[in-house]
Point group: C2
Chain length 384, copies 2
């Protein structure tokens, strides 16, 4: 597999953003969202020192970075200018002063500028520089339909998400802790990624991560990894996500270590059927919220309507969760090139949560499931 | 050690925020910053579904959470009301509607409200509810001076940051990868934390994490963990941070695997002396920027002025980096109860970076160094 994206891919991305800037009659766009910055070619540590890109309506790309990140930014061939601001608060070394000087020197005075996201404090500084600043993300619309190169990354990522579940499956026995399991899954998966890919790009959360709730904690959809020890005859959810060049997938499976009760088996099968139903409905032309409604109707008809805690699915790519959402209120029409999770969950407090998640690529021919780990009941039961 | 904070501690925190709200003549304060929410008692996963707290000027605390997080929020004894919003985008189930209804039902109509941080899109929804909304963080000023219970957490955390360096030290030999080392350090450290503490709280980044640059990558201050393999006669920086109940420390050490050159030893010793100098200057009454200036002057006088890429240190607590900063432009007067890193760095491209970091508690008696891993040259050299 090619290591990283081609220059042609980055050129297409920038042209697509540039075209949108022109369509909207803007002079340019400021890019502050770290995931949009990754998309445009710079992977960095998004801490408290912002990186700002400015894309002009002729496709010129200017980067303003902390002094610490400038070295990497200068390696990006399609950044026309890179300016570094100093790591202090003394007058004149401020990042906004630096941004103003950089933009003015490169493209002169600009008026109509959109910013993708901004907190109010930064906004108040930015409007001093760009008096007609509006808030609109002109980059994300390019991200929503994945390119052929992005699909390749997502396919590779899906195989590692599957690997991670398989590694975790071998560890599942009474006496393991959630965090002990998690850390061993990460170590084995990342070792394999480095061996096979040569190197990895580090994005927030690292190259692989997971949620690993055990026992009654499985009934909390976002239960964070804890020191809890798995007991006999308990469920455990392995909710695993690897990423390749920042492109994330997830493979989530609900296991049971011991002999599940008939009530557990029944709820499991309802979740299973709901998850398959959602996948089959992810066709080009379908409307996101209609899928959520049909899945909810099915779960309710089976008597589990009170145990739903979240939407059926979400978009995925550079972010863990990104639009569109398979959720009531999201009227997006599904198009080829979109990526979704399918993960309707049932959460019965004091008993168990039930959730599988797969990553689906909507191709011209319909939904293609990228994650492949088995999901039938027999594959999920680990006898004591 | 006590597992978690006492109710008396949370009561003091809320009273301190309430008093600040009254002093400023506000009706109440909205808390959106996840670290401020942790401080007030709810640890959760800060993804795209916000948690909002509202603190009234009589000390009433209202929480508005996603349905997924409500279960944990309802366990927090000092939250007077917890309301859950639904996980969809349909009219009427919106989180802002939910916030408005919750505040109105509990405390009636409020006008003068401050919010700690807010993006512009959320601000535009919030001013519809609170027409006189201002942006001011009334929680962070309580966090800047650490309480006795917080210092206990930080001391425990410092011991685990030291442990993590010690674990990493044993792994350092040619042939290891950065990420392979990192993952094994995390596994061993977190296993030990669970064994000794019984459980851990999971905050962003997990209970333990590190940066682990090797070879020439050490010259990049924030080089993210990669698949690179350590070669003979190379430096490697172990920049380790554990946290206990979210309270973070860091112990960073610059190692050399092989025989360092005289030039390497010389730069190392300048960094060492600069780091000790910064620690000694962290006295109650000192001004933050003066310490940065004195340290910079020393590094320049030794001929390494061109190799500085960042400030001398930063505050630490619930966040990796938090105010005050040991940096030019930060005029904060140091008070007992503040916590700082001391980490002046020297970064010589193509050769090596040099950075040790320790965590310093400024007590009434002066600086007390919480991290204890040895830092002399002999302890840093690992013969081949």
């Amino acid at each position: 597999m090619q290591n990283g994206f081609s220059q042609a891919e980055y050129r297409r991305r920038i042209e697509s953003v540039r075209d949108r800037i022109q369509e909207k009659g803007l002079d340019g766009a400021l890019v502050l969202d770290p995931y949009n910055v990754f998309y445009l070619g710079l992977y960095y540590y998004p801490g408290k020192r912002p990186v700002m890109l400015y894309i002009h309506n002729d496709g010129t790309v200017l980067a303003v970075t902390p002094a610490m990140e400038a070295h990497e930014a200068r390696k990006v061939p399609h950044f026309d200018v890179v300016t570094a601001y100093q790591d202090n608060y003394a007058p004149g070394s401020d990042l906004y002063d630096c941004l103003k000087d950089t933009v003015t020197a490169a493209v002169g005075h600009v008026r109509q500028v959109a910013v993708d996201q901004v907190d109010l404090t930064a906004y108040r500084r930015l409007v001093e520089i760009f008096p007609e600043l509006t808030v609109e993300d002109v980059v994300f619309p390019s991200r929503i339909i994945k390119s052929a190169e992005e699909i390749q990354m997502l396919k590779a990522s899906a195989a590692y998400s599957d690997t991670m579940v398989a590694v975790g499956r071998e560890l599942l026995k009474p006496g393991i802790t959630e965090l002990g399991t998690l850390n061993r899954m990460i170590t084995a998966t990342v070792d394999k990624m480095i061996e096979e890919l040569g190197d990895v790009v580090y994005v927030p959360g690292g190259p692989a991560g997971a949620l690993v709730p055990s026992g009654p904690r499985t009934a909390l959809p976002h239960a964070l990894p804890s020191g809890r020890t798995l007991q006999p005859n308990e469920p455990m959810i392995l909710s695993c996500g690897a990423n390749v060049w920042g492109y994330r997938t997830e493979c989530e499976r609900t296991f049971f270590v011991g002999s599940p009760s008939p009530a557990w088996r029944k709820a499991f099968e309802v979740m299973r059927r709901a998850q398959e139903m959602a996948i089959e409905l992810m066709q080009p032309g379908a409307v996101c919220q209609d899928i959520d409604r049909q899945v909810l109707d099915f779960i309710r008809s089976e008597g589990y309507g009170d145990y739903v805690r979240h939407r059926t699915g979400h978009g995925k790519g550079l972010e863990e969760h990104e639009p569109p959402y398979i959720a009531l209120g999201d009227e997006t029409v599904i198009q080829p090139g979109m990526i979704f999770s399918s993960e309707p969950g049932i959460y019965i407090e004091g008993m168990s949560g039930f959730r599988h998640s797969d990553i689906i690529w909507v191709s011209e021919n319909g939904p293609e499931v990228l994650t492949q780990y088995p999901k039938d009941l027999d594959s999920m039961i680990i006898p004591l």
